[in-house]
Amino acid sequence: MIVTPFNVILFGVVALLGVGFYGLLITRNLIKVVMVLQILIKGVVLALVLAGTVGGNPGLGQSTAATVIVADTIVAVVGLALAVQVRRRFGTLDVPKISTLRG
């Protein structure tokens, strides 16, 4: 197995995604869910830049990564706004408690 910077980054991307998925499974606080999504998207941005570099088309990977960074920020902003409004309406940020579905 040849250890190149790209292999190292690939393992880092997989580790970041793994930690992010683990966080999504165990997190119940709405604000923390937004933070876990941020961790996942950082892994994705890294993967996009890596894919562009390795694929011989770095501009494409970087422009896609820039778009993902913008979209990620908007997700964070809207998610936090929703969390604040949910806290005002339900008095809690615990996801199971704010579920109004029955059955």
Binding site: P5, T27, N57, G59, V77, L82
Partner: protein, 172 residues
């Protein structure tokens, strides 16, 4: 020979930065206080932007650093100051060993699928970020503008105060 040494040095520094990022990500998830998790998230962003810079994507690294470690951290701290004492993470519903096993399986599958796609050596392409962004992916730029307007609306929603009785006044 010199390029091989440079390759190894790059791999070393990238490994150190990635280990730091993964450690901060884990600490952000297991931290009980969400304010501490926010600080860890800013650290992940800074380390990720350093790795992106080492990959040669300086513009994306600057965007990641300014937006991820700056703007998002400020927004998170503001949201935490608004929600107040509720900013603690309760215990998980899913058993942690089950979550750990599922994530381990996913990571192994993902790694085994992605690893063969990484070549040992490659040739750099000639298309730069500016050409790609402004000529090939103009639609992306327009989508980003729309998204930024959506973000402004989101910030207004985040900053808006509850005004009780306003709808009643309108009806009266």
């Amino acid at each position: 020979m010199e390029s091989m040494q440079s390759y190894g040095l790059d791999a070393f520094w990238e490994a150190v930065l990635l280990l730091g990022a993964v450690f901060c990500a884990y600490r952000a998830i297991v931290a009980k206080r969400i304010l501490s998790a926010t600080i860890y998230l800013a650290c992940i962003s800074a380390l990720t932007s350093a790795i992106i810079y080492l990959l040669g994507a300086a513009q994306v690294a600057v965007m990641e650093l300014s937006v991820g470690a700056g703007l998002v951290t400020v927004l998170l701290v503001y949201a935490l100051s608004v929600v107040g004492d509720d900013a603690m993470d309760p215990a998980s519903v899913i058993p942690k060993p089950l979550a750990f096993a599922l994530v381990g399986l996913t990571a192994i599958l993902l790694g085994s699928m992605a690893y063969p796609a990484i070549p040992a050596y490659f040739e750099r392409g000639s298309m730069t970020l500016a050409i790609s962004l402004w000529q090939s992916r103009v639609l992306d730029v327009w989508i980003q503008i729309v998204l930024i307007f959506s973000g402004v609306m989101g910030v207004l929603g985040l900053l808006s105060e509850k005004t009780p009785g306003r709808t009643q006044e309108i009806h009266q």
